[in-house]
Symmetry: C2
Subunit: 119 residues, 2 copies
DNA sequence: TCCATATTTCAACAATCCTTGAATCATTGA
DNA sequence: TCAATGATTCAAGGATTGTTGAAATATGGA
């Protein structure tokens, strides 16, 4: 993840509807959701949802695929992960006080698969 | 960190000059840097730097203090940390595959267990 | 084929954001 | 007090972004 990608990523997350769409899609998992369901859940017009979904796609945060009549959008988990990593690598820069608290959050929400080192 | 703060934070980071200022200030540490030095380092006019610094301040990512004739800007490490945490809590939502890689990054740059004392 | 469904595209307009340079404010030292 | 320094504010303009509704495209079934 280079600076340009990170800028696009932050820009995509800096809009209420889009931030909420990302959250919805993360919860929806790898299968994603049809554009219509997203538009309904966000309570915005299909055309507005389409605009923001395209923006998220352009930023590389979601991917689209057609399935019959629907177009399914799914979060790109790698890209989201990359965005977090960019923020950490960049902002850490020898300053553990920034990402140490984030580490605690991660530990609380993600159970490390391999080494279950619970406190 | 609520949604509104996160939106402001992402918005602030979604601009090249501001993203670079944040990086510079993180590296500069808690003492921060005078506006003039920042403007010179970014190679933008003092007025332009001032505009972006104010934007970063409004988003809560940096803090300003006057010291003699200079105004020193410093990164707000807690806010940056909060932004990472928001991204993780929000985007993790039961999906370790997102923040597990980020955990690895953090582990590489921050001492995992000991919450770090400044060198 | 024709129709209904699911979604996107487009143009027009509104709103917001960025840049620029001139004017202004605050602080210090002579 | 005056001049110099460091920084901010402001207005104007251009550029980008978001919203809307109507029209267009793609798909599947009768």
């Amino acid at each position: 993840m280079d600076e340009a990608e990170a800028l696009a990523g932050f820009g995509a997350m800096a809009q209420e509807t889009r931030l909420r769409i990302v959250r919805l899609l993360v919860m929806a998992g790898r299968d994603g959701l049809p554009a219509g369901d997203i538009s309904a859940a966000m309570e915005v017009s299909p055309s507005n949802a389409s605009f923001h979904l395209k923006e998220l796609e352009r930023a590389g945060l979601v991917v689209a695929r057609r399935e019959s009549r629907s177009i399914l959008y799914a979060a790109d988990f790698e890209a989201l992960s990359g965005l977090i990593r960019f923020l950490m690598e960049d902002c850490c820069s020898g300053r553990p006080e920034i990402c140490a608290p984030a580490l605690a959050t991660a530990a609380a929400c993600c159970a490390p698969k391999s080494a279950a080192s619970a406190p």
